[in-house]
Structures are given as C-alpha cells and as structure tokens.
C-alpha cells in the first residue's frame, strides 16, 4: 500500500493536556506528525488542531479512529480529498547583499510576499500560501543565502459548498 500525506482538522476540548494526549497517541503507536498547528476556535471551549501526517489507507483509518476514541476529541475531519483551503505561513531571513537586493524584491513581488524587516545585510520575508508556493520561493531564494526559516505548519478549512 502506498503512503500518502493526509491533513486532519481536529476539534478538541480546550483543556490542558489534550495536545499531550494526541502527541502521545502518535508516538505510542509509531505514527508520524509532519506538522502541527493548534489554536482556539471562535468557541473558547474548543481548540482546532490542524495536523499533517503520513500513512497508507489502513494506518490513516486507524489514526482517525484512534483520535476520535480520545475522550477530549470532539470531531476529526480528513481534509485531504475534500475541497478545502490550505495555507502555511513562513518567515524567511535571507541575506541581502547589494547586488541581490533588487532580485529579492522582484521575487517577493511575484509571490505577493512581504518584506517585514530590513537590515543592512538581510531581509525578513513573510509568505503565505500553499506548500507548493512556499517550496518554490524557498528554491528561488536559496542561492541568495537563507539564514533562517520558520514555518507555521499547514492550517486548513473546508470550503463551503457552492450555492
């Protein structure tokens, strides 16, 4: 069976220890977490965890069921094959020597990214987008010398059905 990336959106009770239950489930059963993003929803009693994981069909089915079995988990959505909006935020600190500055700004423009901090020899760039877009800008900026990167991990929401 082939492994495939899956993106889960998990609604949980907003209580201490819940994230640890989920992380423990993954480590205890040998599943992988590729990225993880947690924050409160509009209802302060509920948090949303967006998680990217890998596995074949059988593993993914187990992950879904095991997650749902946790007492504090309210809902588990697999957004992988659903119509959903998926975004990731990334901050890139790239070295900006005089001869590269213009080129970097052009790339920033093309990707509709933003320069959020400027120094004498660097730019910090903020990019939001899909994984593909983010990978593409990283590839383009690499030759300039990337000093540091931080990625938020994917977040996602289901699209509303079209009227």
């Amino acid at each position: 069976m082939t492994e495939k990336k899956h993106i889960f959106s998990i609604l949980v009770d907003n209580q201490p220890g819940v994230l640890s239950r989920i992380a423990g489930l993954f480590s205890g059963r040998g599943y992988n977490i590729e990225s993880l993003c947690v924050a409160e929803t509009i209802d302060p009693a509920i948090s949303r965890i967006t998680m990217v994981t890998m596995g074949d069909t059988q593993i993914i089915e187990q992950i879904k069921k095991q997650l749902f079995k946790l007492i504090n988990v309210i809902k588990v959505y697999d957004l992988t094959d659903e119509r959903s909006i998926q975004r990731e935020l990334i901050l890139i600190k790239v070295s900006a020597k005089a001869n590269h500055r213009a080129e970097i700004l052009r790339i920033v423009d093309i990707f509709r990214a933003k320069v959020v901090d400027v120094g004498s020899d660097h730019y910090t760039i903020e990019v939001t987008g899909t994984e593909d877009k983010i990978d593409a800008i990283i590839t383009l900026l690499k030759p300039m010398g990337i000093k540091n990167i931080t990625r938020s991990g994917r977040i996602a929401l289901l699209r509303e059905p079209k009227q």
Partner: protein, 561 residues
C-alpha cells in the same frame, strides 16, 4: 452545605453504588482516609498498591461492577501503573483515585510528587487532575461513567491534598453527557442483514467470541445465536466462559495454545462471526494465513478494533449483546433450511479433529500440572472462580478448566501480568464471598505479589492458591527449550521459599503434594478449610504446554504432544 473534598469523594462513591475500596494510605490521602473511617465502605487494606489495582480488577470481573482503588501520591501512584495497564488492555472498568501533593507544590519536585496523569495517559481510558474542588463531584461522576460505558476501561483521578481538605458545595450533574464521547451501542441494521445472508450461504461457519461478550453480558444471546444457527464457537482467553465449555458446539480456545479443532476450524472456515474480540497476535498467529478462506464479520463496540489487525468483510460497530439480540430476532424471520443436515459435514469434521487430536498429556508417575487443573475442575464441579498468574499455569488453567459461565475466569490476558492472580482472587472473593475462588499459580509468578497473602488472611478471604511448582519460569523455559536450543538462561529458579511454611508464617494453611496420588486429597482438604490455603504441587519440571504454534507461524501449524 459545604463539604470537604474528602466528603465529596465519599458521597460521590456512594452515589455510584460503590461498596468496596481497595487501598493503601499515605501522606497525600490522609484526609480521604480520615473521612473513610466515618463511612460504611468496606476497605480492603492491601500490602502493595499493585495488589490494590489487581484486586479491584478481580472484583470488577467477578461482580460486573466498577472496581475502586485509593492510593497515595508518588510511589503509591506509580505502583498502580502495572495494574492499570493490565485493566486497560483487558477493558476492565476501574476508578483509581491517587492523592497528589498540594496544588501549590505541583511541578516543584515536592516530596512524593509524580506526574501520574502524564505517566498513565497512554494506559488509561481517560484521566483527570482535579485542579478546582468545584469540579470534583462532576469529575468523579464522569470517571465512573467513562469507566463503565462503551468499551470499559480504567480511569484515574489525581486529587491534590488541598482539594481534599478545602470546602465546596457538592455539585454534580444529574446525568453525564459529553459532546466528545458517545459510544455506539446500536448496530447498523443493514450490516446485520448482510450477516444473515452470509450465514445462509455458509457451509463452514464459526463464531469467535471474546471478552466483549462477557463485558456486555451477552452470553445468553451468544448461546441462543449459536444454538439457533448451529454454528460452533471458539473464544479467546478473555472470552472463556462466554460460551459453555461443556456445550457440544464448543471448540475450545484458539491461537498459540489453542485446541487443534479450534485452530483447524479457523483455518477451514468460510465464515467467521467475531464478536467482542480484537484479534490479538496470540490468537491470529501469521495474519495473512488467519481464517484465510473466511468472510469475517466483526462486531465490536470499539471502532478502532475493527480493521486494526485483520481486514474484515462486514464491520459492525455496536454493543455485543444488543447486536446479537438483533441477529437472533432476524434469524427468527428467515428460513435457514434444515440446519442439522446442512451443518452435518462441518460438525462431523470438527468432531473428528476432536477425536483424533484432543488436548492431552502423558502421565508418567510424576504430578502433571494438567492433571492438577483437571482435578481442581472435577472437585469444584466446574463452579469455582479461577484466577491465574501468567505463563504455563495460565494456559493449563484455560485448557483444562472448562468454564461454563461468564465471570468465572479471571486472568491478565492482554498485558500478561505475572503477580495478577493472587490479588485478583482476593478481589473476586470480596465480590463473591460464598464462591470458591482459586488462583492457579506458578512458583515464579506467585512470588511477584505473595505479600497479598497477608491481605487474604487479615480479611478472612478463604482464597485457595494452587502453585504448579516446577522450579522454573516455565513458559520462558519452554521457549528456550524449543527455540533457543535448551539454553535455560536464568529461568531456573533454584531457590524458592517453602510455600507450606510461608502459608503458616502468614497464619494460613499450607499443603503439599509430591506424588500424583496426593493431588486429590490435598485439593479436597484445601476446599474443606474455610481459610486461605496454599497448595504446593511439585509438578514435573519440564512439562510443556501443547499444542503450541510458534510465534509468527500460521495457527494451523501446531506442535503437538
């Protein structure tokens, strides 16, 4: 009126119908113990907290109620972990209350502080740290609800000392409703129609029953289902007693030490109706070969059990009793034809397997452990509650004591926890004071919790311990003999206490049999003594459990006597 945390806990226990608490006092639970002395709960003072949890486990299995433990923080709490893990694997409803250091000290590495909620997260069904006394009554109610509903399991509540001794109004909801926890009891009826169709078309069907039948009290429904459809039944270790061991349709236990006919039936079956099982590796052997000709129907209340180890054709999520009752009603309405005629070739084949290759052992003048279990079965008329330790003793008990009723075989199945049998027997005896309760033990495992013999004597619990004393860690030795060229690395227990004197030291009775002829008189005498008794049977040292399926092999590939 405001109550202290300790009073709230006691009142919550009362409201949940608790009558017995297995526990051990300590600094962080002083307030609870102080309050306990003013209640009418029966408290069984164990000698080690692991014993408290196993005893509560035995109590829960014998009575069908939730077992309750009360222990202190730190080492008291960590000592419960093995017991909790065992109950979790076997889906036994427990509520374990641990004391905790005062809230203000949590995280400071205080004396006897341990993060027991963190430690037990993966081995409980759920757990709680009570941070605010206002939540205490609700949490205890939730804990009992979670422990006993759906697929049961142990729930731990960690209560800091300041919560125990501060005051609040008793505030618990009338009913528990959790938006994130709603077990599915009612099966999908369309799936059940498929099951009926499969039964109609099947020529070699079998039923595979497990602990879920016992937990959901589905034995009667199972018996009716099997008798109506004339389908033979095998049951996992956890399911022994779910179907009568003396019924003509009984196949015996399957798996690594299963009967020849059970394993062969699984190998040949064209339909397997599995209910309340989780297809443990000790049952399936090589999964690709397991029931490979069969369409598998899997009934279980826990969706994670389905498709976990074995792919199935018809998954049915639901309570075993409710599901089997539905199936029985459906069967009423369909024509299954002349079942006596239809089943004849299949049942005939099974009868031949039983005839040619029964469970057996060879008598040679020495005491055979199987013979001891057979004699216990005979002399207790099959009516005793049997607990076991883990290893050869457990397998011989499972093979040679033919359980006719549920809740009579109590063993650490999933975790395989040595030291389980004696405290579990104590718990079962507390639950069923008039029953004969016997722990079938080995000389190795009895030493893991033999301190609980003091508990049995102190509380006049007349449990009987039958030690199949072979001077070895027998099951491990058996593997070394068969798969490690007889290299008996550290399985030879050269030294053991004199178990007769040990019994006497505790103020109980010790008996010994060194020859076959002494076995029956020793058991008879033990059964006639209304006090705890240790029976030391000096059995053949290198006897093996057969049949045996080598680890990872297909279960039809058995080593026979």
């Amino acid at each position: 009126m405001e109550l202290t945390g300790a009073q709230i806990l006691m009142r919550a226990f009362k409201e949940e119908g608790v009558d017995t608490i297995f526990g051990y006092p300590g600094g962080a639970v002083l307030d609870f113990y102080d309050e306990l002395s003013r209640t009418d709960f029966k408290h069984i003072l164990v000698r080690h907290e692991q014993g408290a949890v196993h005893a509560a486990d035995g109590y829960a299995r014998a009575s069908g109620k939730v077992g309750v433990c009360l222990v202190t923080s730190g080492p008291g709490a960590t000592n419960t972990v093995t017991g909790i893990a065992s109950a979790n694997m076997d889906s036994i409803p427990l509520v374990v209350v641990t004391g905790q250091v005062p809230s203000a000290l949590i995280g400071n590495d205080a004396f006897q502080e341990v993060d027991i909620v963190g430690i037990t997260r993966p081995c409980t069904k759920h757990n709680y740290l009570v941070k605010n006394i206002k939540d205490l009554a609700r949490i205890v109610k939730e804990a009992f609800y979670i422990a006993r509903s759906g697929r049961p399991g142990p729930v731990l509540i960690d209560i800091p000392k300041d919560v125990a001794n501060s005051k609040a109004i008793y505030d618990a909801p009338d009913t528990i409703s959790l938006r994130s926890y709603n077990p599915t009891y009612e099966p999908n009826l369309r799936q059940l129609q498929k099951v009926i169709e499969l039964i109609k078309n099947s020529r070699k069907p079998i039923i595979f029953a497990g602990g879920g039948i016992i937990l959901s009290r589905a034995s009667d429904a199972l018996i009716e289902f099997s008798h109506r459809t004339k389908i033979p039944v095998t049951a996992s270790l956890m399911g022994l007693g779910a179907f009568p061991g003396t019924d003509p349709l009984w196949l015996g236990m399957p798996g690594m030490h299963g009967t020849f006919r059970a394993n062969m039936s699984i190998g040949e079956a064209d339909l397997m109706i599995a209910a309340g099982v989780r297809f443990d590796d000790r049952v399936t052997g090589k999964v690709q070969e397991f029931a490979k000709h069969a369409e598998i129907v899997h009934i279980d209340i826990d969706p994670t059990s389905i498709h976990k180890n074995i792919p199935v054709a018809v998954p049915v999520v639901g309570d075993c009793k409710i599901t089997l009752t539905h199936l029985n009603n459906l069967i009423h309405k369909v024509k299954l034809g002349d079942l006596d005629e239809i089943r004849k070739p299949w049942l005939e084949k099974i009868r031949k397997w039983k005839e040619t290759t029964p469970l057996k052992y060879i008598q040679n003048g020495l005491i055979k452990p199987q013979f001891v279990v057979e004699k216990i079965y005979e002399l207790t008329k099959g009516e005793a509650i049997i607990t076991t330790e883990v290893g050869q003793n457990q397998m011989w008990a499972a093979q040679y004591y033919h359980f006719d009723k549920p809740n009579h075989f109590i063993s650490s199945g999933g975790l395989g926890c040595m030291g389980f049998g004696l405290p579990a027997a104590i718990g079962a005896q507390v639950a069923c004071p008039t029953k004969t309760v016997i722990d079938i033990a080995g000389d190795g495992s009895i030493q893991m919790n033999s301190q609980e013999f003091a508990t049995a004597v102190q509380f006049n619990l007349p449990v009987k311990i039958a030690i199949l004393n072979n001077g070895f860690l027998g099951m491990v030795r058996q593997w070394q003999e068969l798969f490690y060229k007889k290299n008996y690395s550290w399985t030879n227990m050269n030294f053991a206490p004199d178990f007769v004197k040990l019994a006497e030291a505790y103020g109980a009775v010790g008996l010994r049999a060194t020859q076959s002829s002494e076995v029956e008189p020793v058991i008879r005498e033990a059964l006639s003594i209304p006090r705890p008794v240790i029976m030391d049977f000096r059995v053949e040292q290198e006897e093996n459990v057969y049949p045996m399926v080598p680890s990872g092999a297909a279960i039809t590939n058995m080593i026979l006597v």
